[in-house]
Subunit: 431 residues, 2 copies
Amino acid sequence: MVLATAETTTTLDFGPAVALSCRECGTRYPLGPSFACIECFGPLEVAYTWTSPGDGPAATVTRRQIEAGPANIWRYRSLLPVPSDVLTKRNLAPGWTKLVKADNLARELGLRSLHVKDDSGNPTHSFKDRVVAIALEAARTFGFHTLSCSSTGNLAGAVTAAAARAGLDACVFIPADLEEAKIVMASVYGGRLVGIEGTYDDVNRFCSELIGDPLGEKWGFVNVNLRPFYGEGSKTLAFEIAEQLGWRIPDQIVIPIASGSQLTKVDKGFRELIKLGLVEDKPYKIFGAQAEGCSPVAAAFKAGHDIVRPVKPDTIAKSLAIGNPADGPYVLDIARRTGGAVEDVTDAEIVDAIRLLARTEGIFAETAGGVTVGVLRKLAENGVLDPDAETVVLNTGDGLKTLDAVSAHARPTAVIRPSLNAFRTAVADNS
Amino acid sequence: MVLATAETTTTLDFGPAVALSCRECGTRYPLGPSFACIECFGPLEVAYTWTSPGDGPAATVTRRQIEAGPANIWRYRSLLPVPSDVLTKRNLAPGWTKLVKADNLARELGLRSLHVKDDSGNPTHSFKDRVVAIALEAARTFGFHTLSCSSTGNLAGAVTAAAARAGLDACVFIPADLEEAKIVMASVYGGRLVGIEGTYDDVNRFCSELIGDPLGEKWGFVNVNLRPFYGEGSKTLAFEIAEQLGWRIPDQIVIPIASGSQLTKVDKGFRELIKLGLVEDKPYKIFGAQAEGCSPVAAAFKAGHDIVRPVKPDTIAKSLAIGNPADGPYVLDIARRTGGAVEDVTDAEIVDAIRLLARTEGIFAETAGGVTVGVLRKLAENGVLDPDAETVVLNTGDGLKTLDAVSAHARPTAVIRPSLNAFRTAVADNS
C-alpha cells in the first residue's frame, strides 16, 4: 500500500487541486502518488481551492468559461486536478459524449423524461477514458515512465491507448479469461498485456504487491497509486450531464457499480457544481446497479447493512465483476442519504435490457449498460422510481466488446440466394 | 432502376435543396426518391439555392452560424438536403468526430503536419451514420415506412440503428459471410437482417430488383432510391475537417474507396465551402486508397484508363470490397484533376497499418482505416506525398468490428499466476 508521505509537491502544477485529503479523518497531504492515509488507512481524495479557503483563492468558475472550452473533458479543467496547460498535451481528449433523449425507451418503461448518457462514444468506447486521462496527466507530472492498471478489460484498453498517444510505456493486468474483444483491444496499442489466472480481485491484489516491489518503481498504476486523481475523472460524467440538461441536476440517476468509485464521484461532481453555484441546489436520488452474479452492494443495501461482504463473481457483466468493491460502503451511504437504492438484475435480464435499449434507441450497450438499463426497468416496474421525475441512466461501455452476450439473439432473419423468389419465401411471407 | 419523375415535390421541406440534377447532362428534376436521369441514365445529385441562382435566394451561410450549432452534423443543416426543423427530429445525430493531431504517426512517416479524422466516434462507429442520417430524413419526408440497404456491413448497422431511433421498420441485406461483429450489430437493433449468398455486388443487384417489385414499395433504400440524399452526408466529413483545421482545406487528403461516393462528396464539400466563401480558395490534392484485393480504381488510375474494369474482391477489407464501384470514373477524374493519385496496399500492409496507427496514436481502426493509413505510408515512402504539406487521413470505421484482422498479433505478452515471481520470470526478465 502506498501511504501518503510528507514529500513536498508544491512546485507541481495540478491546476485548482491543492492537496490530498483523507476521506475518513480529513488529514491532509501534499499532492503525490499515494492513495491511503497514514493515520487511519482511509482513502485519499483530491482537495481544491474551493474546498480549502485557506489554501488559495476561491474558485470563480463560470458556466460561460466552461461552455467556451473544447468538446471534451478539458472544458472542466478548472474543476479537475490537471496541469493548467492540459489543452496543449498529447492525450485522447475523451468525454462530451452524447446525452440522448430516450423518448422511445421512456415510453416503454412508463417514464416521463429519460436520458441515456452514452459513453460508448469515448475514444476506446468506455467511460474509462475519462479516469485514465486524469491519471495520465498525474503520471506525467510525477515523472512515471510506465502506465499500469489492474483491469476487468475496459480499463486495460483505455490505459494502453492513452499511453500510446502520450508516448509512455504500458504494462496492464487482466483476468486471463476476459472477452476476446477486450484482450485484442488491450494489446493492439502496444505495451505489455499480462493475463492473470484468477479473478479481478486476484489481479488487484497482485498489483498492490507489485507496487511495493522495485519492479513497479516509477510505474503509475492508474487505479492504485494514482487513484485519487483517476477517481476525479468520473466527476466529468456529472458535469456533462448537468450541463447537457441545461445546467440542471437530474432528479434520479442510475449508475453501475463495480468498485463503486464512479457512483461516489458522480455524487461528488453534483455536490461540487452546487457548491460552486453552477447549478441550483436541489435534491437528487442516486441508484446503484449490479449484476445478480456479483451483487455484494445490493445485498448489503437490501439487508440494511453498512458493511459489504465480498463475493466470488459469476456474471456475464465482467466489467462490473468486482467481488470486493473498495467504495461499497460509500455507495451505501450515498444511496441511503439521497433516497435512492441499490438493485440487481440477472444475466437474462441484462441481455433483455441490452436488446431493449438497442431496439428502442439504437444504442448498443455493453453488458454493464444492460445492468443499468435492466435495473432502471426493474425500479420503474417496482414503483421505486418516480415516473414523473427527470431520470438519467448511464451506458458506460460498448456492445461490440461483449458480443457473446447477445450473439445468440442477434442472427440474420434468413440467408438466401439473391433472388426475389427466395426473398418472398424466406422473409416476406413470414413477416 | 428508379428514374426521376415529373412528380412535384415543391411542398416538401428539404431546407436549402431545390432540385435533383443529373451529374452527366445537367437535366433537373424535382426532389424525389430517384437516382438516375431519364435522359442519359447519369446519377442524380442534389442542387441547392446557391448552385441555382434562379431557384431561390443566394445562401448567406456564415462561419458564426455554423459554430453556434450543435456538436453533430446538423451544425451544417443549411448546407444539407434536410428539413429546416431537423434539430427537433429523433435521429442519431452523428458527426463532429475528432480530428486528431497525429504527431507521433507524422514523425514515423516523415510528415510535417498530419491529422486523422476519426469516424470511429460515430454512434455505430463508422462514417455510415453520416450518410444514413440524411437518407433517414429523406425517407421520412417521402413517407417511407421501411429503411433498407445493401451493405458490406457497417451500413447495415447504421441503418438498423437509425431506424430504431426514428421508429421506422428496417430490412437490410448483406453478404452472408461478413464479420461476426457486423452481423450482430446489424441485427441487435431489431428489424430484419437478410444474408445473401454472394458478393456485395450480388447483394446490390438484388436490391435493384427488389426496388422495382411491389415487395419493395414504400421502402427507402438509403443507397439506391435515396442515394442522392445519402451521398450528401459524406460532405460533412469535408465540412468538419475544414472547420476543425480553423476553416482551412488541407493540402492533401487520403480517402478510402468502396463505391467511390465518399471521395467524390468530400471533394464536393470542399468546393461548396469555397463557393460559399467559408474557406479560402486554394489547391488541394485528393488521394484514393484501396486494398490490393479489390483495387479496380487504383488499377485504372495506374494504367491511365478512364473506365474501371470490375473485379471479384478478395481482401480482409470487406467494408471496401465493392468490385464494381459506381463512382469509380468520378474518382479517377478527381484524383487527376487535383494532382492526387489512387494507390492500393496488400492485406499484410493493411494489418501493419492498423497496428501502426494503434501504437502511435491510440486509435484502433477497422481494416478500411488500415487501407488509408497503409496507402498514406506508401505514398509518403514513394515521395508522392509532399512531406511539408498539411495532410489528413480518414479512419472511417472501428477495429472492434474487424478483430480477426489483428487478433493473431494482439495477444497477451504472458499469462501467469498472480505472483511476483511468476511475473519476473515471464515478463520482466524478457523486457
